[in-house]
């Protein structure tokens, strides 16, 4: 189905994944129109690169989530760069953005974003930077001024906490 590039294949993907992908994208870009553009970009990318998906490296769900998230982060960065240079510079931007995000998210749904917001602050900033801003562990370490090892430990602890929240 997918290999034949058929409309049915697309329908299947779209029906099962579009709302989750759209949700992730929306959380990153925070704008409906932009989110729709990004969802289109993401689907075209997924469709064109599906041959590169390697089942040994994870679920296709995660693979598609990451593509969508990266598309959204790219969009955000292309704008954020302009904002950064105009208004502020340096790592304070990240903290400020993070804080402003956190307050916005107070009214959000009870999904990952809100759960992340409910994390301990040191966990929260790491997951937020990694997942919603596309920072690598190295970059997070530099931006937060925390050793790389600590970033990794906190990452693990954050996910453990999330896991517990879910199992409750």
């Amino acid at each position: 189905m997918l290999q034949q590039g058929s409309r049915e294949g697309f329908n299947y993907l779209y029906k099962n994944y579009s709302s989750v992908l759209y949700g992730v994208i929306y959380k990153v870009v925070n704008d409906e129109e932009t989110a729709q553009d990004v969802l289109q970009e993401a689907f075209v990318k997924i469709w064109n690169n599906i041959a590169q998906y390697d089942a040994g490296k994870g679920r296709i769900y995660t693979w598609m989530l990451n593509i969508s998230r990266n598309c959204a982060i790219d969009k955000l960065r292309s704008r954020g760069e302009i904002m950064k240079s105009k208004i502020q510079k340096g790592e304070h931007v990240v903290d400020n953005l993070t804080n402003s995000r956190r307050t916005e998210q107070q009214t959000d749904t009870i999904g990952l974003r809100s759960m992340v917001a409910g994390l301990r602050p040191e966990y929260h900033s790491i997951v937020d930077l990694a997942y919603y801003k596309g920072y690598t562990l190295d970059e997070i370490s530099k931006v937060l001024g925390v050793p790389l090892g600590t970033v990794k430990t906190r990452m693990r602890a954050a996910m453990q906490q999330l896991r517990q929240q879910f199992s409750i």
Binding site: V20, G134, R163
Partner: protein, 300 residues
């Protein structure tokens, strides 16, 4: 690193969140292959993320589906060959994401599939275009080469003509030179008497010389200047012995016209003077009186 080390490292979480550099991504992917428990842990983290994300799912506007499909079609048509290959490759990896129902859909509607043939026809179109381009290029090259060859041939013909002319000129020069050399040699040869014959016709510059080797009764005639003989006429050579002209043979017309040296055909036994007259071709028994053009006396 052991499996537990990976699990407790925080790398797996970062892996699922997509926040690892490529090198570490590959490292984790490798660990997933080697340690089932690592793969399981990654699966658990993925499940957690998916679970969380599904709570945040937002249904996009209904019209977006067709719009995105159109965008995919657009991207596909501009990238046909590329996709053709990809679609082939997907056969190997896609089964993991196919549901049985989806298979039913695809097998029941084979007519809706996009086969590889579009990319094939694109490639044959390219091949056709390439063949035409090559052909047109070849024709142009041929025209250029043919033109070049043609002008080369023209140049060659011109050169050949020039060379032929020069050869002719050279032959004339060589002939003239040989004549002068022969004359010089005959003049220098002991026992050869040169007898210059001069024009008897006032106002007409004419001249020839007889070289007579009396001891051997042989003679040569060298023409310096004579008018070309009219059609059917020929110059006749005479030796005047005891006041009577004796024919010593005819002058070749070629020598008469071009100048040059010729052996006197008859033996010259005796003579006090020599003369040249214009006679009918083949000669006469006695010279026509008013057609004696040249006369030269033996020096005493």
């Amino acid at each position: 690193m052991k499996a537990e080390d990976y699990i407790s490292s925080g790398l797996l979480e970062a892996y699922v969140l997509g926040s690892l550099p490529l090198q570490e991504m590959e490292q984790v992917a490798g660990a997933m292959c080697r340690f089932p428990e690592v793969k399981q842990e990654v699966g658990a983290i993925e499940a957690l993320m998916i679970q969380a994300e599904e709570k945040d799912a937002i249904t996009p506007p209904a019209e977006l589906e067709d719009q995105i499909w159109a965008a995919i079609q657009n991207a596909t048509s501009t990238n046909d060959t590329h996709l053709g290959l990809q679609h082939q490759a997907v056969e190997l990896t896609a089964p993991s994401i196919q549901s049985p129902g989806a298979e039913g859909i695809s097998s029941s509607t084979p007519s809706r599939t996009i086969p590889l043939s579009p990319s094939k026809s694109v490639s044959t179109n390219w091949a056709r275009a390439a063949v035409w381009a090559a052909l047109v290029g070849s024709v142009f090259a041929n025209i250029i080469f043919w033109n070049g060859k043609h002008s080369d041939q023209q140049q060659l013909a011109t050169l050949q003509q020039k060379v032929g002319q020069m050869q002719g000129d050279q032959e004339k020069l060589v002939a003239n030179l040989r004549r002068f050399q022969q004359e010089a040699e005959m003049t220098a040869e002991p026992g050869v008497q040169p007898v210059p014959m001069l024009s008897t016709q006032p106002g007409h510059a004419m001249a020839a010389t007889i070289y007579w080797k009396k001891s051997e009764h042989t003679a040569y005639v060298s023409v310096q200047k004579l008018p070309p003989p009219p059609e059917g006429m020929q110059y006749q050579l005479w030796a005047i012995a005891g006041g009577k002209p004796v024919s010593i043979g005819m002058l070749d017309n070629a020598v008469a016209i071009n100048g040059g040296i010729q052996k006197v055909p008859e033996a010259v036994m005796d003579g006090q003077a020599f003369a040249v007259s214009l006679e009918k071709a083949g000669g006469n028994a006695s010279p026509t009186a008013d057609k004696i053009f040249l006369v030269g006396k033996m020096p005493v």
